[in-house]
């Protein structure tokens, strides 16, 4: 336990002292919200204003980007620098290592969500209920774990940090507009509407939005959770198989 706490503290400090990560994790999400406000501030999506509708979407988009880009890239960087090799040479077990990495990732991503929601409430006057936030929290955590697992698949495949960023960006942006996060799915062509429910970002967006907007769990909770679980488990298994301590030579 003591070892786990020491490792967690170290990984947490590594994250918060890295200015690039800090910018993308903490400043960029707010920037994104402001842009949407300026661009689409007066729109409506069904019965709610676009601004209210998009805030949960930005929350999901940010944890998606964090998982695919932040979490995955950091692992590749540690591998490239030889940090993983050094850890491998020590008698530390896999569980505290993976556990502390995951815990820090979840914590950082949660702070990011609090920032986005806090900004939306204070600056844009978004209305949130305690019950809604409590219901959204487990869904957000499920989303973070799924996206971090996907990010670790990327880090397992990518030979370098540059490649990890490229692959992460492709997966990130390809889902950005077609998964009901930023743009309503109704505005998409029929075939995208048919395919989107099988994408992880769509499933997580459906899980997170209803509690934040209406304080209730999502309709079709089970099916969205199932899609998410399939991605999370599949990605975790794949990531474990692809994991390597040293760069390929």
């Amino acid at each position: 336990m003591k070892q786990f706490l020491k490792l967690t503290k170290a990984m947490f400090l590594m994250h918060v002292r890295n200015r690039t990560t800090l910018f993308w994790n903490m400043v960029f999400p707010i920037f994104l919200l402001v842009i949407y406000r300026v661009a689409f501030g007066d729109g409506q999506v069904g019965a709610v204003s676009y601004m209210d509708w998009v805030v949960p979407g930005v929350v999901v988009f940010n944890i998606l980007a964090f998982g695919l880009l932040g979490s995955g890239t950091m692992m590749v960087e540690m591998r490239e620098k030889g940090v993983l090799r050094r850890l491998h040479a020590s008698p530390v077990a896999a569980l505290p290592l993976v556990g502390s990495y995951l815990l820090v990732n979840v914590l950082i991503a949660l702070v990011q969500c609090v920032l986005v929601l806090g900004f939306a409430v204070v600056v844009f006057g978004m209305h949130l209920t305690a019950a809604g936030v409590l219901r959204a929290l487990p869904m957000i955590i499920v989303g973070i774990v799924t996206f971090v697992a996907l990010g670790q698949v990327v880090s397992g495949v990518a030979p370098s940090t540059g490649m990890a960023i490229a692959v992460g960006q492709i997966l990130n942006f390809s889902q950005m507009f077609i998964t009901d996060m930023i743009m309503p799915i109704d505005a998409m062509p029929a075939w995208i509407q048919d395919a989107a429910p099988y994408l992880p970002a769509y499933a997580v967006a459906q899980l997170v939005r209803p509690p934040l907007l209406e304080g209730t769990f999502a309709p079709n909770l089970g099916s969205h959770l199932l899609v998410t679980a399939v991605y999370a488990l599949g990605a975790a298994l794949l990531a474990a198989g692809l994991f390597r301590w040293s760069p390929k030579r």
Partner: protein, 324 residues
């Protein structure tokens, strides 16, 4: 702190390497990094692995550290099979990898605590400070690792290697890329760790370093251990004569005919003349220079060293190595 071991224990084998072979990659792209290497490292010695880049030194250490699985053979640390019980074996080791792999957004003091914790050794601030003071890093405890100089980073790497108070310390090129002063400082640290009764294994491609530090050395070339003994005995076994070293430019045939000359070769920009009668050879060289109306600007007489051993065993000179 470890106490000095008795003489009997000093002779005890602490690392046993038997028939160790290692490969990288698969199929047609497979590289044989190590071929049937066997070594026995004694408790309390400084053992040097000497060889050019790519000779297999790091691969050998990686097998000892349990991070590379050998294709054949094995490593035993204090009788523990590294392949079967890597984590038990790893607990006995202090490690500094070639690439100074630090979580460099952490401070020096934080790093010491984390690296000790990897071995389930928990240092409080005072213990961490005491450790850092031994490596002259007491003023840097709050600095981020990324802001340290090369020499400071290397001293930190050594402090991290002993954070778990190990009996056996493996250092992969501990002085590579350091300036002479920083290099001396690292040598002092290595000697001190040795005096504390620890066993050290260091890799180097510096002959000077191996001669200065190591009780015994193994010479590695192209994945094979070609010799293993004390530097003095390796040199004595050469039965080599002193060497005259000069930049004076003169045809090899002319030098070969001088009295006492056994062998002539170029080593980098130097001409090296192995001779049993250095004074007479020198006189002959002087005479040749006068005849050509030139003068010899520099000349040095040196005793045979590990460089000559390497040359004899592998047919390669130090200069050729550095390029390879």
């Amino acid at each position: 702190m470890k106490s000095m071991k008795g003489k009997d224990q000093m002779e005890e084998m602490v690392i046993r390497i038997e028939g160790l072979s290692a490969v990288y990659g698969r199929g047609a792209r497979q590289v044989r990094a190590l071929q049937e290497a066997s070594l026995a490292i004694r408790r309390g010695e400084i053992f040097g692995l000497l060889g050019p880049n790519g000779a297999g030194k790091t691969t050998l250490l990686s097998c000892v550290e349990g991070i590379h699985t050998p294709a054949a053979g094995g490593v035993w640390i204090d009788g523990i099979d590294v392949r079967r019980y890597p984590r038990v074996a790893q607990r006995k080791l202090g490690i500094q990898l070639q690439q100074t792999a630090l979580l460099d957004d952490l401070t020096v003091a934080e790093l010491v605590e984390v690296y000790a914790a990897l071995y389930e050794v928990y240092l409080d601030r005072a213990a961490a400070l005491a450790l850092l003071a031994r490596f002259e890093l007491q003023d840097k405890t709050r600095s981020l690792a990324r802001r340290l100089s090369g020499g400071q980073k290397q001293r930190l790497a050594l402090a991290l290697a002993v954070a778990n108070d190990p009996e056996i310390i493996l250092l992969d090129e501990p002085t590579a890329a350091l300036d002479p002063r920083a290099r001396r400082a690292v040598w002092e640290i290595i000697r001190r760790l040795h005096q504390e009764g620890r066993t050290l294994v260091i890799t180097t491609h510096s002959m000077e370093e191996a001669e200065a530090l190591c009780g015994r050395v193994a010479i590695i070339d192209a994945g094979r251990i070609v010799a293993c003994d004390t530097p003095a005995r390796l040199i004595a076994a050469l039965d080599a004569a002193p060497v005259l070293r000069t930049q004076f430019d003169i045809p090899l045939e002319q030098v070969e005919s001088l009295p006492g000359v056994r062998m002539v070769r170029y080593s980098g920009e130097y001409l090296e003349i192995e001779t049993t009668r250095p004074q007479e050879t020198l006189a002959g060289l002087q005479q040749a220079a006068v005849q050509q109306g030139r003068s010899i600007a520099d000349i040095m007489l040196r005793q045979p060293n590990l460089e000559d051993v390497f040359l004899r065993l592998t047919g390669k000179t130090l200069a050729a190595w550095k390029e390879s």
